[in-house]
Symmetry: D2
Subunit: 313 residues, 4 copies
């Protein structure tokens, strides 16, 4: 049943699965690993799954382009939730292996820059070869093709391995952001610490064109949390922008900014409003919103305008 099935970027044992399992509802869903982000999202588009969890942004590698491009094109989808997962690696080995036994290591190519310093310090002579995913690397260790794999500690059990070293990460604060994506529906109610995602296309590229788009946010006091350019496919220099703005589509300041974009952009794709991960609803980012941008102030101004139009101001 699609309503109880969630897909995710597989295979089993990846950080994506770990992120998915942080959602309470995951306990009651059928979790299905898929071979790629497009495959995970297509299952949602064609109704085989209710939702898909895919990575969208990594603090070391940046935006996950496959996810950004899938969300920006094709049948519309919407984001309903985000999950932040700290990324630290464990060195997984077959039981009994000692560090001095490790001559060959594997892992996902994006893991390599995140463990490079650790390798240099602790296994300077080990040979690295990339695997298709961190989980796949674990499987190759299980099969005996490598001595050790960098992967999430949670992957050890799946592949009958043990974590020889844990908490390996060159970069402090390495984390990955995942999004739970479904078919378009009414966004969840605002929590007070929300985020709104859109993709916008520019009208042209005169000096200041991007500036005009950003002013639609700034003039309404809406803070941007992400601005990621992506090629439109129309040739070098043609970009659209994936934008995360602070606030909910039902917040007046956000709604007015989105309408402003809608009017001046040839295309705007709304990707949803959802709770910010890792912040409590009360005060989230510590930013004081600009005076004059609360819902109450929008309503008061609208009342005033109506009175002006009626000659009662």
């Amino acid at each position: 049943m699609s309503a109880t099935r969630y897909t995710y970027l597989g295979p089993e044992g990846t950080f994506t699965e770990a992120a998915l399992r942080t959602l309470p509802e995951a306990a009651t869903r059928e979790l299905v690993p898929m071979v790629s982000v497009p495959a995970a999202l297509d299952a949602v588009r064609n109704g085989e799954a209710a939702a898909a969890l895919v990575p969208i942004e990594n603090s070391v590698e940046g935006g996950v382009t496959a996810t950004l491009d899938e969300l920006a094109s094709g049948e519309p989808l919407m984001i309903y939730r985000e999950v932040l997962l700290p990324i630290t690696f464990a060195l997984l080995v077959r039981p009994g292996t000692k560090l001095s036994d490790v001559k060959t290591v594997t892992g996902h190519p994006v893991a390599q820059p995140q463990v490079r310093n650790w390798l240099r310090a602790h296994l300077p002579d080990a040979l690295w070869e990339s695997a298709a995913s961190n989980a796949d690397g674990a499987r190759l260790v299980q099969e005996g093709r490598f001595d050790a794999a960098f992967a999430g500690e949670f992957a050890a059990a799946t592949y009958g391995l043990e974590a020889l070293v844990t908490e390996i990460h060159d970069a402090q604060n390495a984390e990955t952001r995942f999004v739970l994506v479904g078919r378009p529906a009414r966004p969840a109610a605002p929590t007070g610490a929300d985020k709104t995602s859109v993709v916008i296309w520019q009208r042209d590229d005169h000096p200041g064109a991007l500036l005009e788009l950003l002013q639609e946010f700034a003039v309404r006091g809406v803070n941007l949390m992400l601005l990621q350019s992506r090629p439109t496919g129309a040739g070098i220099g043609n970009y659209c922008f994936a934008i995360d703005a602070e606030g909910h589509v039902s917040d007046r300041r956000v709604g007015e900014a989105l309408m402003g974009l809608k009017r001046i952009c040839p295309q705007v794709r709304f990707l949803g409003s959802y709770p910010q991960a890792g912040v409590s609803a009360s005060g989230s980012t510590g930013r004081t919103p600009r005076p004059g941008t609360s819902d109450a102030e929008f309503v008061a101004a609208a009342d005033w305008l109506a009175r002006c139009q009626d000659g009662r101001a």
Copy 2:
């Protein structure tokens, strides 16, 4: 009956009266000259007159501060009409006077800079003394206290004088803008070439404070036609701004800009929306409005936002 009485800045024979008489309705109103702008407007405020015609802007002298300040404070008033009048002077003399007889001339102080070059060329030795108004100057000539007065040609008949020279004006294109002011009521419907007047007070004076106010207009593509600072009375450096914006309060882009101001300014006073004088409704200023700022585009964007909020975008 107040409904049929219009006051104006007197005395009789001023340019203000001439401007008032360009309004078709003037033919059926009782036109009452008042000694000052405040007096003309107070008659409206207290119900003795239905409307008042007062000068607000002169192409040589600038904003008429008495009018601007009266509109910015006290019991609210609204502008319903503007009249543009070219300002050229006639040299009024008692019948029979020749140019070579003119040893003393008078006129309103603001007339002097507008006829200075003409005087230097044609009456280099004449002595100038100011009168309380152009019309008052004419009266003083009638009484024999001066040989000639600069005033509107139309004032000659009122005071039994004749226009010895006409079309005197140092500055090309000298004109004065007058406004017809009444008590607050619903503005006239938009004509397609309208103007909206407001007075706004700044929240504070950090660098860019005025910039923020102007951006509320610019981001919605609303053109400014007048920006006049006026002291608030709270000491040197404290200003409010009288602003004329192109468009009507019922135009979506204008309304949204006004609401934006209302939210960030401690005070905004709406002074009305009314037809631009001297322009036909179709194409007025020759400016192409910025793409994305028509009412139709506002409505379309609002529809789209509603669909986003409902999950149907």
Copy 3:
């Protein structure tokens, strides 16, 4: 000798004279009252005086248009000093006159709105008639043509009158700003609390044209202290702007902003850099300058750019 002669807006006994006498150097100059602002400034232009003191801004009445317009056109002049003077009126009478004797009062037209409430409360039946200046009003009282005149208390002695009531002012904080104007020369060295005055003309009036001008200041973190529109004389709607900016022309951020204006405006007239009146050099307005706009930061950035251009960054 012109080098020791200062003109001022007369006649004797005006607030302008009082302001001039606050300057230490006034004690050693010949102070010459002139009949008008243009006359005072023309004496400087033609070398008859070294400098002129004229009012430029009043906290109740706003910009003094005669001064603004004179500075904006004709032979260039420069401002070297500003003086702030609190404006309170005294009721001057012939010795022996009692308040109950006062049936007629006079004063400068701009004094009237500043004493209106006081008159209503204390002399509700007195008749007001305007005089050419506050000092002229005092003279008319001396001559017996009026019972009392509103003027500066300091004018009493000059005209043999006594101050029946002092400290009359409807508006709190009423003050007038005067400027000492001379022929162009190198501005005084910066004091740390300076002001720079310019007049700028706009290129055209597209939406946002004024915004562009103000951005030249804002992007360099330069605060505006005055923005006063003045008609250019080319017809209604054609304005130039008198601007006072915080800082000195030798401050890098101010210089760069002025160059930016110079490039995009058809005309910019530099009116001088001079110490702000009423502030100590250390910390003046209490505003923290925007980060990145100090001279040291400008110099460091210029050094860095030179290294980039040389391939040494």
Copy 4:
């Protein structure tokens, strides 16, 4: 000798090699393929090569993050040239193979989305498996492990293959931009159609922070050709921006914009000024530069400022 050695992202037969061979100087250099972008650039950093050619932007896939991140960190490098190469694929087979013989195909993973439609139309039943590079795919065909490989037509000769079909590309205008990178030195003289690359770090993330950065360009009329966010490694939401601006670091408007960024950003890395690929020097992008931003206008404004400071304006 390093002075004659250029590295590039290998292996032989890739589009990068083809791009490198479009440079006239390539004929007289030793061209050395490297296994990765970091390896190619490290050879430059440590003096083993004079320059490296690496891909930086792809019209389908977007910014090449490995290149962007290498340029943004580590020992400084500079861009001296860019090369635009249209990306069309040839289907390479062993001599004698017919289209109907092709059951298995290979190629670089990023090639797949660019040939997907062609495959669906012409080889719907062929099995795709990814290779490490397009050239590597050709080698695997040579070795008989696949029937055909998608690669540049120029790779055929290297691997003894023939191009069965050419000009295959799903996306119109697919092209890749490559940059020639060397150690820092004085940039080449401006050609009139140049580009300047920088990486900037934001001070903080208040609403409008990015806007402020972009205004440094906009207020000087400098057009942006690329804005690519990259994570700083300090956690989700922390970004720097790779920016390509139109113009040369020796253009006054570009230099002033860069100095503005230098002052307000905690870090700015200058990556060079170099001729725009694919445009003639005379008129390049067809954009009219904003009035007031030519070098001549900057010089005139600086002269004027000096006169102001000297009292000779």
